[in-house]
Subunit: 396 residues, 2 copies
């Protein structure tokens, strides 16, 4: 087991009616003036934004609103938020929405504590030293941003989607009411499930070794996700299933499933996420669906480097009974692909609606390797040429 740090300070309040706790919690964490950050009109139409705003007012907290965050959130909106927050003397960022809104709020938090351009952090020119406090009311189970140390932003000027990881941006509190996800449409729901599962898989597929109890906890989460993803697709108002998916979403990305894992100086593999970031940066596809589209290409390319690990996944998560490791590993890859189809996810880039040219393969690999300057992955380290091959295999 590798040495690790585990730090999940976010105060989670989970269940029906927790959104109304926003005002009290902002006050508990020292906020006096809030930037109420959200996306499209759904939180307005549903009345959620009004309920959260009323909770702030009842707690004596002033606020300004900034909506308009889009999926694959843009740095332009982040810069707008930083300006507005500075002008209005905001000292607390409250995201009401899904991962895009939370990531945008975290980016605003970094920007408020920095004199230069916030994109500097996402270009990895320097590491952030501080972040204004962030809290959230979650409306979509997917990215795990509500407990994670991650913020991913897209620069629409150059199509680059980049992430920053730091404990500084972890939410002070997260209010998780599964009922708020009842109205999430099927495709978004399934994309969220694929993303949640991927967050555990990225950590699980780090190499050939076993790390307990992390492996067994991860397998438990994955099995629960397979069952509960099917249930939410069948009945979008199944409270216990929505709750399971929502809570699994937080646990899958708060660090729990990576404790002690690691090879090549990385906790987990993360190649699929990095490959997908280029894809959705270039084509604006839904992140979870993009991850699903890459699964077979990536797993079939890297599996021969770690057949035992894929065989354990096959047996302990997918219920495969093959005794030969290589056969079991292949059956596990096929079984997870079948699951993705079952919940309505694409399993190739073509099924995403994107027809990739050879030149676009080159461009994706060039971008994903940061112009040939980095490798990715841990279970198998991928150079630029490997990245191109995975994209090609996933093209369909």
């Amino acid at each position: 087991m590798n040495n690790f740090k585990y730090y999940t300070p976010t105060q989670v309040e989970f269940g029906r009616g927790t959104a109304e706790r926003a005002g009290e919690l902002v006050r508990q964490f020292g906020g006096t003036k809030v930037l109420l950050h959200f996306g499209g009109g759904s939180v307005k139409r549903s009345g959620l934004l009004d309920r959260v705003a009323a909770s702030l007012s009842n707690a004596g907290i002033a606020y300004v609103e900034l909506g308009g965050v889009v999926p694959n959130p843009r740095v332009s909106k982040v810069r707008e938020g930083i300006e507005l927050a500075r002008r209005e003397g905001v000292d607390f960022l409250l995201a009401v929405g899904g991962g895009s809104v939370i990531d945008s709020a975290k980016a605003i938090g970094y920007g408020l504590a920095y004199d230069g351009d916030v994109w500097d952090f996402y270009e990895h020119k320097l590491a952030p030293k501080a972040c204004a406090p962030v809290g959230c009311v979650l409306t979509l189970a997917a990215t795990g941003s509500e407990m994670s140390d991650s913020s991913v932003i897209t620069n629409e000027e150059n199509g680059k989607k980049r992430g920053v990881n730091s404990d500084l941006c972890r939410c002070r509190f997260a209010l998780l009411d599964p009922e708020l996800t009842f109205t999430v449409p099927p495709y978004q729901t399934a994309s969220g499930c694929a993303d949640i599962i991927s967050h555990t898989m990225e950590r699980y597929f780090w190499g050939e070794g076993t790390v307990e109890p992390t492996d067994s906890v991860a397998e438990g989460l994955l099995r629960a996700m397979l069952e509960m993803s099917r249930r939410v697709m069948q009945d979008p108002q199944d409270y216990d299933a929505r709750a399971a998916v929502m809570w699994a979403g937080s646990l899958s990305h708060n660090g729990l499933t990576g404790c002690g894992n690691g090879g090549h100086g990385r906790v987990g593999d993360w190649a699929c996420h990095q490959l997908e970031h280029e894809l959705s940066g270039m084509f604006d596809v839904t992140h979870g669906a993009g991850l699903a589209a890459i699964w077979e290409g990536w797993s079939s390319y890297v599996m021969p480097s770690a057949p035992k690990r894929f065989a354990r996944f096959a047996r302990n998560v997918m219920g495969v009974t093959e005794t030969d490791d290589m056969q079991a590993a292949k059956a596990g890859i096929a079984a997870y692909k079948a699951f993705l189809h079952e919940i309505g996810m694409p399993t190739s880039i073509r099924e995403l609606g994107v027809e990739l040219s050879d030149e676009q393969l080159d461009k994706l690999a060039y971008n994903c390797s940061f112009e040939g300057t980095r490798s990715i992955g841990s279970i198998r380290v991928l150079e630029q040429k490997d990245m191109r091959e995975v994209y090609r295999l996933a093209r369909g």
Copy 2:
């Protein structure tokens, strides 16, 4: 799924060499003068105390020492610590030891922030409103106190062992080096394993319903613990096994395995812990061994109230293949009893070395029911007469 709060702010640093981080972390969390709290001579003989003290000095942190904490830590030592800390202007409590030392440090923390007698909190006369900050260097994998909200203290004047639960006392940081547990003797190691497993079981056996992903995560932890407990008993210097047990110990008592569980207004059952508290309060037995001794008596008494739950445990954790729920449940109880024997734990109170008279059965039940004023348990609620019956069944 019930509504729940999940709050685990403890910064965990896990792995070889982490004890030396103590000074830096005390400073990070604002401490300037430390009470260095410990138990017997082993942390002195091993040189650990010197290493931690040097780390404090290197970070410019002053300290005073207070050793002598015993298993089932005493309120008299806590009161001594409060006086000493007041006199010396201590503002941070650093426990170097196992759960007893951490619980004693937490109690001192409560006492420092209170004008009255600290036992008031343990008698549940009132709830604590504040707690001086606590950190720890863990040397024994067992109680989970390093991440839990719990502190259990024994009043040697009346033999009562009582616990207080509050987020206020959660450690600011916990330094977990598995190598520090290499020298823990077999009986203490096995008792720790029994305690860790019990912390997940107490939450798991709350009733008949299923709660995902909590159930699957709990089952993963339990399976890992069965395997890794056997490994540490075979080879006390098996780093990965010691590490697994140590980390499972934290995860089993930080709240994770109780998220969304609950019946009768309780998250989890906790009857075994409460029954054991009276036993070790009266006879000063090792807590984990006491839990092991109570298992068969308790489980056979309550199982008919929730055979499905016990059957799921039997199949998903103990590997039982019986199709009939009642038969599976019985086989699961027997299998866990056999596991306890395998790692050298007692499975009756007689095997603990305690011969209980009928009068002592009465006294234990009387104390455990707080003189007939409370019931305990959730999967089956136990009144004073039920408690006596469980003690009688467990007597052996």
